[in-house]
């Protein structure tokens, strides 16, 4: 087993009065996919915000490559190679692919007051990086991001994160807003990133998607880690039941059947 690149020890977060997260311990390994499962409000977003430096935990410690770290800002987290890609890709619909790819880190050419943004290079790199993730339909860096499909936008954001040296990639519900075909694109991209040795944290409430790519799973319920297991150790039904708060889906099915009969 490799050394974990990111480790959480008993991380807690309380906002005024409420405990959003309690004693979460996790390990994230390079070249593996950790699926973070949980219903809405289970604490997934809070955990993502802690990992990406938006919130500081109120308890517990975070280690990167075995050394304890404190993230004071999102910039701190990205300096440690932790990149977060949000549901809608965190990209700019009315900017070109090349411009969007290099926002904040624009390559320049020329000197002094004539130093300028090398848009051609930016476009070429953006297209090349997206193609390395298997997106072949985007061939022109001048295309507007808004003309890409949802999956292609995710690919752009992921390609960007990987290109700029992310070794931990947090994907926040990347498949939630996508159709079946687009979602399978994104799952393929997750496997591509994994193959590049990136540690992927895949946050989702879609058990099927998680089981297709995950190596390791953690289920959050009401801010606590309810279960933690490896690929193949649980069935889909077991996970779904757990996420639904322990209330067996079978019960719900029976109840629904009753309603249907009485209607």
């Amino acid at each position: 087993m490799t050394e974990p690149i990111l480790r959480l020890n008993d991380v807690s977060k309380s906002f005024v009065g409420t405990n959003a997260l309690q004693d979460i311990s996790l390990e994230v390994h390079p070249g593996k996919v950790l699926c973070l499962l949980g219903d809405n409000g289970a604490g997934k977003s809070t955990l993502i915000k802690i990992l990406s430096g938006f919130h500081a935990p109120t308890g517990g410690t975070i280690e990167v490559k075995g050394r304890p770290v404190v993230f004071r800002s999102p910039r701190d987290a990205s300096a440690y190679g932790i990149a977060t890609v949000h549901q809608f890709g965190g990209t700019f619909p009315l900017m070109s692919v090349g411009r969007s790819f290099f926002v904040g880190v624009e390559p320049t050419k020329g000197w002094g007051p004539f130093k300028r943004f090398d848009k051609r290079l930016a476009g070429e790199i953006a297209v090349r990086e997206m193609q390395s993730l298997g997106i072949t339909r985007v061939t022109d860096g001048k295309r507007l991001v808004g003309s890409l499909s949802g999956g292609e936008r995710q690919a752009l954001a992921i390609a960007r994160a990987v290109y700029f040296g992310a070794n931990v990639l947090i994907l926040d519900e990347p498949t939630a807003a996508l159709g079946v075909k687009e979602a399978s694109h994104v799952l393929r991209i997750i496997m591509q990133a994994r193959a590049k040795g990136v540690a992927v944290i895949f946050v989702t409430h879609n058990v099927l998607h998680a089981m297709m790519v995950g190596d390791h799973f953690a289920v959050l319920i009401h801010g606590r880690k309810a279960d933690d297991f490896r690929k193949g150790e649980r069935t889909r039904e077991q996970i779904t039941d757990l996420m639904a708060g322990g209330e067996a889906m079978a019960d719900l099915e029976a109840e629904l059947a009753e309603l249907e009969a009485s209607a």
Binding site: G90, T91, F92, L94, M95, R99, V103, G104, G146, S147
Partner: protein, 350 residues
């Protein structure tokens, strides 16, 4: 201007053909604005007669365009970054009065008055920027407040200091030549200032990383911040820019007309927004170009002045402008949709 157009026309891989460059043009923010400008020009060239296209007619709308354009370009930049600046009208008046009082009423050196007048613009811009970024109050409200606040201060202080609301000034020949002369007897030197502002800002927006930052901040502020862009400092700088632009026009008007009035400049508040929006800038930010703003400014100025050459009652000018704004915005929306559906080679035709 030329910089941008040649940049756009440069083909990515395939050879250039007229059809291709025409299609490329339709994917640019200023495509609708160009049609608008040509349209109103042809319209008034036909109905305005020979006088409209003569040098005097051209000077009339170019002069209006130049003064408006010096303000519209930085205001457009702010709008691309997702913020409004309504305070420009009062900044213009405050800058005019500062120059007139310092160098006219008190008889100080003109250069001192100019520096202080521009300083007023920078100060109001800085204030706008600080309030908008620190409080998260919508910039519409913040700059509406500074529009009124600055207007009141200008009026109050002018009356306290000079006892009147209009002050005369006798600019020295050097300042007159730089800011307030008429080239060939009818073209304001402001036209060159406008060109310079448009070239510098246009270069910055399309060719430098700062331009990319502005587009990004206007497109999605949170993502831009997450990408490491100093969004607050950027916005403050842009507000200082629009304050400076308004103050510059204040200086130009004061030196050109040998005096200042406290009520100067209020028409620029909405006219600058009209020019920017007609120029294809998206009101909510993230999309637009300096070429577009320049074209929008020209369109506005042509309608504004062209009406006098038609022999029609000038009461109709505002009506035409209203129709024009609506038409321009609808056209710009269409072109933006076209740009968003741009998927080369594979299938889906735009």
């Amino acid at each position: 201007m030329t910089v941008q157009i040649s940049g756009a026309a440069r083909p990515a891989a395939a050879g250039t053909s007229p059809a291709r460059s025409l299609r490329n043009l339709t994917y640019r923010p200023e495509a609708g604005a160009l049609i608008g400008t040509l349209g109103v020009f042809v319209f008034f060239a036909v109905f305005g007669g020979a006088n409209f296209v003569a040098a005097s007619g051209t000077a009339a709308w170019l002069n209006v365009a130049a003064e408006l354009g010096i303000i519209a370009v930085p205001v457009g930049l702010l709008m691309i970054a997702g913020e409004l600046d309504l305070s420009v009208g009062s900044v213009l008046a405050a800058s005019s009065m500062t120059l007139a009082i310092v160098s006219g009423y008190w008889g100080g050196p003109v250069i001192l008055g100019i520096v202080l007048a521009l300083g007023v613009g920078v100060a109001v811009g800085l204030l706008n920027g600080l309030i908008v970024t620190r409080t998260n109050v919508p910039s519409f409200v913040v700059t509406l407040a500074t529009l009124f606040g600055t207007a009141g201060l200008t009026l109050g202080l002018s009356r306290v200091i000079t006892g009147t609301t209009s002050v005369a000034i006798k600019p020295d020949p050097a300042s007159k030549a730089v800011f307030g002369t008429l080239v060939a007897g009818q073209f304001e030197v402001a036209i060159f200032w406008w060109l310079a502002v448009a070239l510098v800002v246009g270069w910055m927006l399309t060719m430098t990383k700062y331009g990319n930052w502005i587009l990004a901040v206007g497109g999605d502020k949170e993502s831009a911040r997450a990408a490491g862009i100093p969004t607050d400092r950027l916005k403050i700088a842009l507000y200082i820019g629009s304050g400076f632009g308004a103050a510059l026009v204040g200086v130009i008007q004061t030196i050109l007309y040998n005096g200042a009035q406290v009520a100067n400049g209020q028409s620029f508040v909405f006219n600058s927004i009209i020019a920017v929006v007609v120029g294809g800038v998206l009101l909510t930010g993230g999309y637009g170009s300096v070429v577009g703003v320049v074209l929008g400014t020209l369109t506005f100025a042509i309608v504004n002045q062209g009406i006098y050459y038609t022999g029609w009652n000038s009461d109709w000018a505002s009506f035409i402008l209203g129709v024009l704004i609506l038409a321009a915005v609808l056209m710009n929306n269409t072109f933006r949709r076209l740009a968003l559906s741009y998927a080369p080679r594979t299938g889906k035709k735009a």
